[in-house]
Symmetry: C2
């Protein structure tokens, strides 16, 4: 009955309903109007995401989502030959995989708003500290900011090619001084302030695309419109 | 595809996806396992909730929710003859309405876990301050803790009669010293600490009823189980 907005991505999406998370904030914005559906898969890259496509977004669904955010790349950009190499996907394949995801979603529903989000920047110091806590002194960096930037560029380029809105989180976050600790908790995942940036950017893009929460109607009457003595009137107008 | 857990209630449910909210925390717990669906209607009492039943929970649905929390009463308990009297529903009718909601849900799905939650206690001082900020010096209290307690009792009694789990939030919160300001922001709505109490109680009841998030399976493979060189294996086992 209500429109659905799907958040499809990796751990940065999966964790988006923790306190101060961007997904929860979005669900709060669309409360009474649309359902925000969490489809975040920690550790996943775009290659593995492809296996989920037909399950999460079945073709021929009578009620496809009105909007989907695609937020991968942080794991694809893990360096080859390092601790997280299992997650590594070459940048060209990352772009190709994103394109296949977009095409599938548009096949589900040509009207679906599809928003591409780049991975956030990497705070290499924070990431290295995290690696040392897991692997001890032998730890070596498994992601760099520069390499992640290459993936961000591929993502934004694809969005331009396909005329889709995108959020260049990699660039956006680096505009703020002290972004490394302000927006990232372990060099990769988001602090509440980092979540606020994602939330603000998603709201901006949704608004520009005509999916503003404030302009969408309530599913059922505002309680202020309900006559205490004849409540059926308000419900007759809106939903009976 | 995923099981659904519906949160049905008034503003204390509608606001449950704000930062630190009990609904968002629950969605985080069930991430990758079940969808937590927000159906909170600010200002609604049980009389008005009845108008929504067939829309939100259509009979004959192939995929009814596995669980629903019913969390009304804060508005039903507004005093007659005061500012919020439009929302007032007599305590006996409140109980009867709750019963009709439960019966409808059990008709949708006899296996559905239905959890009744009482309204929280009222911090009369906080509530009065809120009323004065809206109506000035002429403001008079529109809810009392004692009267809300009568509704909480009806709710818990009904749960016993129908052999349903319930959460007596009205009693539970008052066990903690300083509950008035610790758990309530304006004498009625919840602070982050108040949200934590609701979250903890819902998790406890869900666990006792066999709907523990930690024991539910992931919808798709944990990334640690995916072979980097032959990812299809993990997906073949679990979802292809």
């Amino acid at each position: 009955m209500r429109p659905e907005i799907v958040l499809f991505g990796d751990s940065i999406t999966e964790e988006s309903f923790k306190s101060g998370g961007w997904g929860a904030s979005l669900a709060d914005n669309y409360s009474r109007k649309a359902d925000v559906v969490l489809r975040g898969y920690s550790g996943y890259n775009t290659r593995w995401a492809l296996f989920l496509l037909h399950h999460l977004f079945p073709l021929g669904s009578a009620t496809p989502p009105v909007a989907t955010t695609i937020f991968f790349g942080a794991n694809d950009a893990a360096l080859s030959g390092r601790t997280s190499e299992r997650q590594h996907v070459p940048a060209e394949e990352y772009k190709e995989n994103l394109k296949r995801i977009v095409h599938h979603l548009k096949e589900c529903s040509p009207a679906m708003l599809v928003v591409l989000i780049t991975p956030p920047p990497i705070d290499e110091e924070g990431r290295f500290k995290q690696a040392r806590s897991l692997y001890g002194e032998k730890a070596i960096p498994e992601r760099t900011n520069e390499v992640t930037g290459v993936y961000a560029k591929q993502c934004v380029e694809l969005a331009k090619e396909l005329c889709l809105p995108s959020i260049n989180l990699w660039s956006k976050m680096q505009e703020t001084e002290g972004w490394q600790k302000k927006f990232l908790s372990d060099g990769l995942h988001l602090t509440p302030e980092g979540n606020a940036v994602v939330h603000q950017e998603v709201v901006r893009v949704f608004n520009e695309a005509g999916l503003s929460a404030t302009e969408m109607p309530y599913d059922f009457p505002d309680y202020l419109e309900i006559d205490g003595k004849a409540p059926e009137k308000a419900f007759q107008q809106q939903c009976l």
